[in-house]
């Protein structure tokens, strides 16, 4: 019994380590972090900037995420040195006049990326598949902790790069 008590603490960390909770996406935080990340672009935007929120009207989840993003942005969401506002866009209607595109889940990433490339727009998504495929320049998730992933080839394709300190703290592929 004494032996068991003495060594029981070894098992304690193993038990405690299983207490992690499942992750839940937080659209508002994702957008805010994405906006803050834009301030680490070289020659990046400043002040009040408009984010194009790209969605697919035929998919309820995409529309719902678009609505959530627009609600989060409201009349102006402070994100570090930037104040973000939103402009909903369907994939086929992507145009210039915005600082970046936020791609909601369910849109055709490849099609959106092609339009974005034509307009030299940086693409951001909370879906890591978009970054891994090279359709998005940057992936941002905030739950359970902030993770930022940048696709260097996609960034180079539209001629953008990030500041050194930022690059040292994120995942690049």
């Amino acid at each position: 019994m004494k032996f068991r008590m003495r060594w029981a603490w070894i098992g304690f960390p193993l038990i405690v380590s299983q207490l992690a909770l499942p992750a839940h996406a937080d659209t508002s935080k994702d957008v805010q972090v994405a906006g803050r990340a834009l301030s680490f672009l070289e020659n990046g935007p400043s002040g009040r900037v408009v984010i194009g929120v790209v969605y697919d009207p035929s998919k309820a989840s995409s529309v719902a995420q678009k609505d959530a993003v627009m609600a989060a942005l409201g009349s102006g969401l402070d994100a570090g040195s930037l104040t973000l506002t939103g402009k909903p866009m369907e994939v086929g209607a992507i145009s210039g006049g915005v600082a970046a595109l936020y791609l909601t889940g369910g849109v055709n990433f490849a099609a959106a990326a092609a339009s974005a490339k034509a307009h030299k727009l940086i693409t951001i998504s909370a879906d890591s598949a978009c970054v891994n495929s090279g359709d998005c320049v940057m992936g941002v998730t905030t739950t359970p902790k902030v993770e930022i992933k940048v696709n260097r080839a996609a960034a180079a394709a539209i001629g953008v790069s990030f500041k050194s300190a930022f690059r040292m703290m994120i995942t690049e592929i």
């Binding site: 972090v33 803050r36 570090g80 905030t142 902030v146 930022i148 500041k163 050194s164 040292m168 995942t171």
Partner: protein, 674 residues
């Protein structure tokens, strides 16, 4: 093998130094990066910016919010609430701080920096905490690295590194004023003001002054009333950043301090101490195609007078020049290469026979590599080549020649860390560190005195042949987050060895016997080895309705391995006896509306120390003690806060060290932040 192969592959690519990109030169914008990642950011672990949670070394970070809520008027009080920190309070204005034991009067094992610039006193390698040119209001965070890190920072970074990071005037518009009064007739005033001249020039000026009555000596006749002085300090500093071009930034830091205090010196003599320090640093930072290039040069000057300890007047001047490149050489690997030059000199005193100096040349390299999405590794190495010299001449009756100072010391430092992020909430870290504690200038020759005996005198001198201490640390850490209960914590297990432990001259025996024409001599010397096992456990969290809590516990067990025939007590080097085995802290705080309240309970177990004496040294027990600190604050307006804080509320007087008994202190402060 995969890890080794990955590191070798990355290292082979280092020579290419490509893939950097042109852009705006930026010093590290801690604030924006912290906001982005929602956690503290540090550069103290590797020289590269990274999240504190993923640093390859054990470290703690004290934030500006922690400092504001601390109720403290000095940094040691704040540090003492962390795991693994020992604070020896000698008087109202004098403390020594140790990381993981080995603390002693004027401890030379700790490297203290402000924005990467050393602020410890190089003459004996100690830190005069009252003479730091920084006000609490201008500190963004205090980064505390546990264990050796001399591969990155160089000499003295053996028990740990404390890097005080101030707000950056380019990015942080910090303005603050504070007026504090209290018991012991304490009075303090701080002023911090940031100025901006468009986007070109940003400056921050800080001024501070404080005074207090010294604690009363009620118990110790060995502490002479003439050796006790009311502490007072003055400081002024300027931090300016100029954006010279789109790619180039210049930073000028200038500081000045003057302080008086009463304190304890390493051979347990109580003395008044007056010091003056001045520092100037110029840095250039270029975000170039080959990475973040940085060049800096700084000079520290200090004048220290130990009034009642042989009337020593030490004048110390340090010049440091450094160039560095920090570059992400590919998506997985960040490389830092640096070259540093250091010139350090001081006069020999109280018998002034000349000056001792050395020049150090130090190349270093660091590589941090992402092995997989869950594993990262960091290796760092540095080589210090120290060329020692003595400018002057010894009297013929002293058994030393300047030729003995024509010596070169070479020392190799290394750090390696492997971080495994097992889950979103579990991070494991194993690390190895080899640190070099160079002999100080005092130990090499800056100290030279003579003890008069009835028929002769005994010379007490520095020792040009003393060897650097090597501190090696092996560590396994587990960081745990418990988001379900808004808590986090860590467990750290470490084993540390120190070889060539240094001891001060012992009056219990002679190192060199007298000759027909020369006096006997005793000097600083290496006295053996020691090892330490220990653990740190810490946790903190938030509770509903504005409550917060933190707790930590540290266990350290030091074992001595003296050289044959060496009496460690005589050399003030019995660290097994003088290191408390157990320390613990418990904190509880609450914020509601305009009110903020915090309390801290600290415990240090009993230990032994060398009582103040003018005779031969001996050890005596210092009983374990607990003290309770607290602070209550009320926000009068959005910018104005009134606070009352207390230290050692549980007792009017506690004997914590062999110095003066520590008294209860109460402070009232009015502070403005805008």
């Amino acid at each position: 093998m995969k890890i080794l192969a990955r590191l070798l592959a990355a290292a082979s690519g280092c020579v290419v130094l490509a893939s950097g990109s042109a852009g705006f030169a930026q010093s590290i914008d801690y604030g924006s990066l912290e906001q982005l990642f929602n956690e503290p950011v540090t550069t103290s672990a590797t020289g590269s910016p990274q999240r504190a949670a993923s640093a390859p070394v054990p470290m703690d970070i004290i934030t500006a919010a922690d400092i504001k809520r601390s109720g403290a008027v000095d940094i040691p009080t704040i540090l003492g609430r962390l795991a693994g920190i020992n604070v020896l309070t000698w008087g109202a204005g004098s403390s020594d701080v140790g990381v993981r034991g080995y603390d002693q009067a004027k401890s030379p094992r700790l490297l203290v920096l402000i924005n990467g610039r050393q602020v410890y006193t190089d003459s004996y390698g100690y830190t005069d905490w009252s003479a730091l040119p920084v006000r609490l209001e201008e500190i963004r965070q205090i980064e505390v690295v546990k264990g050796p890190n001399s591969a990155l920072f160089g000499f003295n970074a053996v028990s740990g590194v404390i890097n005080i990071v101030t707000f950056n005037p380019k990015y942080d518009n910090v303005n603050a004023a504070d007026v504090t009064t209290g018991t012991q007739a304490y009075a303090g005033i701080d002023l911090v003001k940031t100025f901006k001249l468009g986007d070109i020039l940003s400056s921050r000026v800080s001024l501070g002054a404080s005074r207090s009555n010294e604690f009363k000596n009620t118990d110790n006749p060995q502490i002479l009333s003439t050796s006790v002085e009311n502490p007072k300090s003055l400081s002024a500093s300027l931090d300016s950043i100029a954006q010279l071009t789109a790619h180039l930034q210049a930073r000028l830091e200038v500081s000045w301090t003057n302080d008086d205090q009463s304190t304890v010196v390493p051979n347990s003599i109580y003395t008044r101490l007056s010091s003056y320090t001045g520092s100037q640093r110029l840095s250039l930072l270029d975000e170039s195609p080959v990475g973040l290039l940085e060049g800096s040069v700084y000079q520290n000057e200090s004048y220290t007078k130990f009034v009642d300890f042989g009337s020593i007047d030490w004048k110390n001047k340090v010049l440091v020049a450094k160039v560095q490149d920090l570059v992400k050489i590919d998506p997985r690997d960040t490389l830092r290469v640096a070259l540093e030059y250091r010139h350090n000199e001081m006069n020999s005193d109280p018998i002034n026979t000349g000056s001792v100096f050395y020049n150090v040349y130090s190349p270093s390299v660091m590589l941090t590599s992402t092995i997989t999405s869950k594993i990262s590794a960091t290796v760092a190495a540095r080589y210090d080549q120290l060329k020692l010299g003595f400018d002057g001449a010894f009297p013929s009756y002293v058994q030393l020649t300047t030729a003995e100072y024509n010596r070169t010391i070479g020392a190799f430092s290394a750090n390696a860390g492997l971080v495994y992020t097992a889950t979103d909430n579990d991070t494991f870290r194993v690390s190895y560190a080899r640190g070099v504690q160079s002999p100080t200038l005092a130990e090499l020759g800056g100290f030279h005195a003579a003890i008069p005996e009835p028929f002769f005198a005994v010379d007490i001198t520095g020792n040009p042949s003393i060897e650097p201490s090597i501190v090696t640390n092996y560590e396994a850490d587990w960081d745990k987050a418990l988001p379900a209960v808004a808590a986090k914590g860590y467990l750290r297990l470490f084993y540390q060895t120190t070889t060539a432990v240094k001891g001060i001259p012992a009056e219990t025996g002679l190192n060199l016997y007298p000759t027909a024409t020369q006096e006997p001599l005793i000097w600083f010397q290496n006295v053996g080895s020691s090892d330490m096992t220990g653990l740190e456990a810490a946790a903190s969290g938030a509770l509903p309705k504005g409550w917060r809590w933190n707790a930590n516990y540290t266990y350290t067990n030091v074992q001595n391995e003296p050289q044959a025939g060496v009496n460690l007590v005589g050399h003030f080097a019995d660290y097994a006896a003088t290191t408390p085995k157990n320390t613990a802290n418990l904190g509880l705080g609450w914020t509601g509306g305009k009110w903020t309240a915090d309390g801290w309970l600290h415990y240090t177990s009993s230990y032994q120390d060398y009582p103040i004496t003018y005779g031969l040294p001996y050890l005596a027990k210092v009983d374990g003690y607990a003290n309770l600190d607290g602070r209550v604050a009320y926000d009068l307006t959005k910018t104005l806060t009134f606070a009352i804080s207390g230290q050692q509320l549980n007792s009017a007087r506690i004997i914590e060290t062999v110095g003066l008994p520590v008294e209860r202190r109460i402070f009232a402060s009015l502070s403005a932040n805008w």
